[in-house]
C-alpha cells in the first residue's frame, strides 16, 4: 500500500468524478458534496468503467407502491447493466456479501505535506495547493 497523489482538489469539484491510473489499475475518484471517495474503476460483472456510471440515490420500499429515497448520489449505477455499487464501501446493492469493487482510502492533503511525493511533470509542486491522495 502506497500513497499516490492523483489530482488537485480543483480538478474534481463537488459532483465531479475522475478516472485515475495507479500502477496500472484504474481508480474512480468521486467528489460528493466535498467528500472524496475512491473505488476500483471496473465493474466486477463485465468490466465497464464505473466512472462513466450515473450517481443515484438508494431506492427502498417498505411495501409495494412505496418509494423511499436516501443517500442521494452515493450509489453508482454501472453504465452498462445498471448494477448499483455503494461508493463508500464498493459493495454491490444486490449482493453485498459476495460482490464488491475494491474501495480505497482517500484524503485531501496540503501541498507541503505531500511535496516529496509529487512528480513535478504531473503536478506543479506548490505548497499552497491541496491534493487528492489515494492509498493503493
Amino acid at each position: 500500500m502506497a500513497r499516490h497523489v492523483v489530482a488537485t482538489v480543483e480538478e474534481i469539484p463537488p459532483g465531479a468524478r475522475k478516472r485515475v491510473e495507479v500502477e496500472g489499475r484504474g481508480i474512480a475518484v468521486f467528489n460528493i458534496g466535498g467528500a472524496y471517495f475512491a473505488i476500483a474503476d471496473r465493474c466486477p460483472h463485465e468490466g465497464a468503467s464505473l466512472c462513466d456510471g450515473r450517481l443515484t440515490a438508494l431506492v427502498e420500499a417498505s411495501e409495494p407502491g412505496h418509494y423511499a429515497l436516501s443517500r442521494r448520489g452515493e450509489l453508482v449505477r454501472c453504465p452498462w447493466h445498471g448494477w448499483e455499487f455503494d461508493i463508500r464501501t464498493g459493495r454491490s446493492w444486490c449482493d453485498p456479501k459476495r460482490l464488491k469493487v475494491r474501495s480505497y482510502e482517500i484524503s485531501v492533503e496540503a501541498g507541503g505535506a505531500v511535496a516529496s511525493e509529487l512528480r513535478a511533470e504531473t503536478f506543479p509542486v506548490s505548497v499552497e495547493a491541496r491534493f487528492v491522495v489515494v492509498e493503493a
Binding site: T56, V59, E60, A61, E63, P64, G65, H66, Y67, A68, H81, G82, W83, E84, W93, C94, D95
Partner: protein, 374 residues
C-alpha cells in the same frame, strides 16, 4: 417414455397427496339446485343449460384432455365419474388425499354475476357430489377472478369447510396475476391459509401469445408454459409476496422445466432494474423458493427423472415439487405418474412432505367441517 423394464411399485404413492385431479361438471343441469331463483329462471329463459361450456384450453376430445384408457365408455365428460376416478387413481395409487381442481367454463362468463353464480354452484356441487362421497378428497375453490369483491365473498363462504384447501385461478385471465386490483383475493388467501393454485388454461380475453393467435390447438397448449413464466414474473415484480408474506402459490400443470431459464433470466434482469421495483429486495429465485410450488405433471423433459433432478440442482431445493397425476389429462403412460428412477428421498418429498407443507389445511381434521352457510 422411460425405457426402464422394472415397473415401479404402486405403493410409492400410497398415503401421499395427488395435487391435481380434474372432476368435470357433466352439464349445467347438475348445478341447477345450487342456483338462486333468478339464475334458475335465466337458465330456463336463455337455455343456458344447453350451452357447451367446453373450454378452448381443453377440448373434450383432444388427447391432452383425457388419456385414451381413461375415457368413459358412455362418452360423458372425462373426469365426470367419481367411480372412474377411484378406479383409475384413488383406489389404485391409494393417496391419502386427492385435490380436486374443477376446470368449468362457467367461471369465464363476461357477466361477473353470472360467473359468480356458476362458481358458487360449482363449489356447492363439488362439496355434495365429491367431497361428501369420498373422505380422501379435498377441493379448490373456483372464483370469478374478474370481480374481486365477488371472488372474496365466495372464498370466505367456502373457507369455513376445511376440505376446501386452495383457491383456483387460470394462468391466463384478464390481467397479469400480480396486478394490485387482484390483491383482495391474495389477502383472503393469506388470511384463511389457502394457497392460490394457478392452473393451465386461458380465458382467451386476449391472444395466448404476444405475437397473436396461433393456428393450432397444440401451439396454444405449448404456449401455456410461457404464460406461467410471465405470471411468476408478474407476481414477483408487483410485490405480491412482499405484501403477503404468508401467501403460497402453486403452479399446476405448468410443464416445470421452463423454471431453469426463468430463474437465470429473472435473476439477471433484477440486478439491473431493481430500482423500478424496490420492494423486490431479493433474487426472484429466492422469492420463488419461499413462496411458489409446482406440480410435477407434466415434466417437459424426455427423461423426467433427469429433468426433475436438474431442476432440484438449478433451483437449489427439493421442496418445490408436488406429486400430481393431472387425472384424466394425458401426461404419462401406465402408472408412471412419477418417473420410476427417482431417489427414495426425493420421492418422499414430492409425494408426502412437500404437499403437506404447502397445504396446511390437509392437516386439519375434516370432521371439524363447519356447515357451509346457505
Amino acid at each position: 417414455m422411460d425405457d426402464t423394464d422394472r415397473p415401479a411399485p404402486l405403493s410409492r404413492f400410497a398415503g401421499g397427496v395427488d395435487c391435481d385431479l380434474h372432476p368435470a361438471v357433466p352439464g349445467m343441469d347438475v348445478l341447477l339446485p345450487y342456483l338462486d331463483d333468478y339464475w334458475r329462471e335465466m337458465v330456463a329463459v336463455r337455455a343456458l343449460d344447453r350451452l357447451n361450456l367446453s373450454l378452448t384450453s381443453y377440448p373434450k376430445g383432444a388427447p391432452i384432455t383425457c388419456r385414451l384408457d381413461w375415457r368413459l365408455a358412455d362418452g360423458s365428460w372425462p373426469g365426470a365419474s367419481l367411480e372412474a376416478m377411484r378406479r383409475h387413481v384413488l383406489d389404485r395409487y391409494r393417496p391419502g388425499f386427492g385435490i380436486l381442481n374443477p376446470l368449468y367454463g362457467g367461471t369465464l362468463m363476461h357477466s361477473e354475476d353470472m360467473a359468480a353464480a356458476l362458481c358458487r354452484a360449482t363449489n356447492e356441487w363439488i362439496r355434495d357430489a365429491w367431497l361428501n362421497q369420498d373422505f380422501r378428497l379435498r377441493a379448490s375453490i373456483v372464483i370469478p377472478a374478474h370481480n374481486t369483491v365477488l371472488a372474496v365473498e365466495e372464498i370466505e363462504r367456502c373457507a369455513g369447510d376445511p376440505r376446501f384447501i386452495q383457491i383456483l385461478m387460470l394462468v391466463s385471465g384478464e390481467v397479469t396475476l400480480g396486478r394490485r386490483h387482484l390483491w383482495p383475493i391474495y389477502a383472503a388467501a393469506e388470511r384463511l391459509g389457502l394457497p392460490v393454485g394457478i392452473h393451465a388454461g386461458s380465458s382467451y380475453r386476449s391472444a395466448p401469445t404476444s405475437v397473436g393467435w396461433p393456428s393450432y390447438f397444440v401451439e396454444d397448449y405449448i404456449s401455456q408454459s410461457a404464460a406461467f413464466e410471465q405470471q411468476l414474473q408478474s407476481l414477483i415484480a408487483e410485490g405480491v409476496f412482499a405484501k403477503f408474506p404468508g401467501l403460497r402459490v402453486v403452479m399446476i400443470e405448468s410443464g416445470l422445466t421452463w423454471l431453469s431459464g426463468y430463474i437465470w433470466r429473472a435473476d439477471k434482469t433484477w440486478k439491473g432494474v431493481r430500482a423500478e421495483v424496490p420492494w423486490v429486495t431479493r433474487l426472484p429465485s429466492a422469492i420463488l423458493r419461499d413462496h411458489v410450488r409446482f406440480t410435477v405433471q407434466p415434466v417437459d423433459d424426455p427423461d423426467a427423472a433427469k429433468g426433475i433432478g436438474r431442476l432440484v440442482e438449478h433451483l437449489g431445493s427439493d421442496e418445490l415439487f408436488l406429486f400430481s397425476t393431472d387425472y384424466p389429462h394425458w401426461q404419462y403412460e401406465g402408472d408412471d405418474a412419477l418417473p420410476p428412477d427417482l431417489s427414495e428421498a426425493l420421492l418422499r418429498k414430492i409425494v408426502h412432505d412437500n404437499p403437506l407443507a404447502t397445504y396446511p389445511r390437509l392437516l386439519k381434521p375434516a370432521t371439524a367441517a363447519a356447515e357451509m352457510p346457505a
